[in-house]
């Protein structure tokens, strides 16, 4: 048994060194594919963080018509305060025309056309509402109720912004997932090709091995180990890449002002370790799959 293990390891290493150029290409492709997979995981987790924060701080804005009477404004204020179990009345704020216009100037700083349509006279005033409940359906039904109040122009829900983030998140996930799968396929193909080349280079040796009674598994194992090693090295390289990327992102995020929501895009280190473990396993798997297909397919030399 020891002789067989020694033989398999020696042949694996010899073959690994013999086809260095092709091996490097296979390792590099595996590493890039796995890095993309790891990045997909991290981006996904960052988006989830962002969505979670928005959910925990769900806000509603009740826009009041610019021509609303003080009585109508008082009625809206009273109605909002009439639901203290649903709405955090301490955080309820009314933005008058001056404040609303000042905020609009900040919001639309990148959109001068919209800004030019607004004046301190025409801008709707607004109530900023922070609900106490996590039940978005309840908040939505309250919003529907507030829309019917006299003087209310519109009610906007932060929840609607979630759809944008969710759509963006789904889009990024789909794109990175497709790219990852394509690159993983390419990596398997390259490992397959490396092993096939290695087997072709040693076809005479394989022929002799078969003639003297070596089993197919004895012949296959060094080639399969070689593929496994390529995938694993790609996995280790991708782990290093993911770690560097995440460290750079984490320190970059720290430069943003607090409360901008960007800080929530940091991935916790426990999750990163899990991703790295997955990348290693995935690397070993693509190496094993690519080499197993080649070793089975091209044994009849």
């Amino acid at each position: 048994m020891m002789a067989r293990i020694e033989y398999a390891l020696r042949e694996t290493w010899a073959s690994f060194r013999r086809n260095l150029t092709l091996t490097m290409a296979a390792v590099l492709t595996s590493a890039i594919a796995l890095l993309l997979v790891g990045t997909t995981f991290l981006i996904q987790r960052a988006f989830e963080n962002l969505l979670v924060q928005w959910r925990g701080d769900v806000a509603m804005i009740v826009f009041v018509r610019s021509d609303a009477s003080p009585e109508q404004i008082a009625l809206i204020d009273g109605t909002l305060r009439a639901a203290p179990s649903v709405i955090d009345v301490d955080k309820l704020r009314y933005f008058d025309k001056v404040e609303s216009y000042a905020e609009a100037q900040r919001i639309f700083v990148g959109d001068p056309v919209t800004l030019s349509l607004l004046t301190p006279e025409t801008i709707p005033t607004q109530f900023k509402v922070v609900p106490l409940t996590q039940d978005t359906d309840l908040v939505r039904s309250l919003a529907d109720q507030y829309r019917t109040l006299p003087g209310v122009e519109a009610v906007a829900l932060a929840e609607d912004e979630f759809e944008i983030i969710s759509t963006l998140s789904a889009f990024v996930r789909t794109v990175t997932l497709i790219m990852s799968l394509v690159l993983l396929g390419v990596a398997i193909g390259l490992i397959w090709s490396t092993i096939r080349t290695a087997m072709f280079a040693r076809r005479r040796e394989i022929e002799v091995m078969k003639l003297v009674g070596a089993t197919n598994w004895f012949i296959r194992i060094p080639f399969m180990l070689e593929g496994l090693l390529q995938g694993l090295i790609g996995g280790v390289a991708s782990c290093a890449g993911v770690w560097v990327l995440n460290s750079a992102w984490t320190s970059g995020v720290a430069a943003f002002k607090p409360g901008t929501g960007i800080s929530s895009l940091v991935v916790p280190s426990g999750y990163l370790s899990g991703v790295m473990l997955i990348l290693l396993l995935l690397g070993a798997m693509i190496g094993a799959i690519g080499s197993a297909i080649a070793a089975s397919r091209f044994l009849d030399v």
Partner: protein
């Protein structure tokens, strides 16, 4: 030791290599398979080592019917066979010692057995002083001796030799035949395909003659004709 019973091998749909071949070979026999090129000699040897599967009939080797043997058992059949070829099939990047050791290594023999058996068999074929040479540093006859050493190192029950003297001059061929005879005298059955009439006539052993895939003569102590 070997029994062929109505063996036919057809390549593709209509290329008949051997047809209805039947004969027995007892343990310790030395048999020449003779006939012109394309008469089916090599095909018969390949059927015996299960490099080919018979289209019809049974091929019994060392007590096993190799025609319906599952592929997973074939390596174990081959461990009881020694194969010798006209082109030696040596590994050019390995030394004489490594070439012979390779046959033991790939069937999982431990290092101490290899270190014991290989020098012994190299001495048997007269190459004990050239064990560190590479094949291309040897003459044709010496390369064939390495090939024989590799085939014999695992003490096979049967030696299958396909034109082993085909590339050698008469004097060297004589040496190779002497080796095969010595191996045969240890009890190993030898089946040798050849169209070298000199060695057949000199040895006067059993001759099975093939013509267009069929046995046309099976003669004890025969000559080439």
């Amino acid at each position: 030791m070997i029994k062929l019973d109505g063996v036919t091998k057809v390549y593709g749909t209509d290329t008949v290599a051997v047809e209805g071949v039947s004969f027995d070979v007892a343990k310790g026999d030395f048999v020449f398979l003779v006939g012109p090129s394309g008469s089916g000699k090599s095909t018969l040897l390949r059927l015996m080592s299960r490099e080919e599967v018979a289209t019809e009939g049974d091929v019994w080797v060392a007590g096993r019917n190799v025609s319906d043997m599952p592929p997973s058992r074939v390596p174990f059949l081959r461990r009881s066979l020694g194969n010798i070829f006209q082109d030696y099939k040596l590994l050019l990047n390995k030394t004489v010692f490594e070439n012979v050791a390779f046959a033991l290594e790939v069937i999982g023999k431990p290092r101490h057995v290899i270190n014991e058996q290989v020098p012994f068999v190299l001495e048997l074929v007269g190459l004990q002083d050239k064990s560190e040479r590479l094949p291309n540093q040897l003459s044709g006859g010496e390369q064939q001796r390495v090939s024989i050493a590799r085939a014999f190192v695992n003490r096979p029950l049967i030696m299958l030799a396909d034109e082993p003297t085909g590339n050698l001059d008469p004097a060297t061929s004589e040496g190779i035949m002497g080796l095969l005879q010595a191996i045969n005298e240890t009890g190993t059955t030898v089946m040798m395909a050849t169209h070298d009439h000199r060695v057949v006539n000199a040895m006067r052993r059993r001759v099975v003659q093939l013509d267009r895939g069929a046995v046309v003569r099976d003669q004890e102590r025969g000559v080439y004709e």
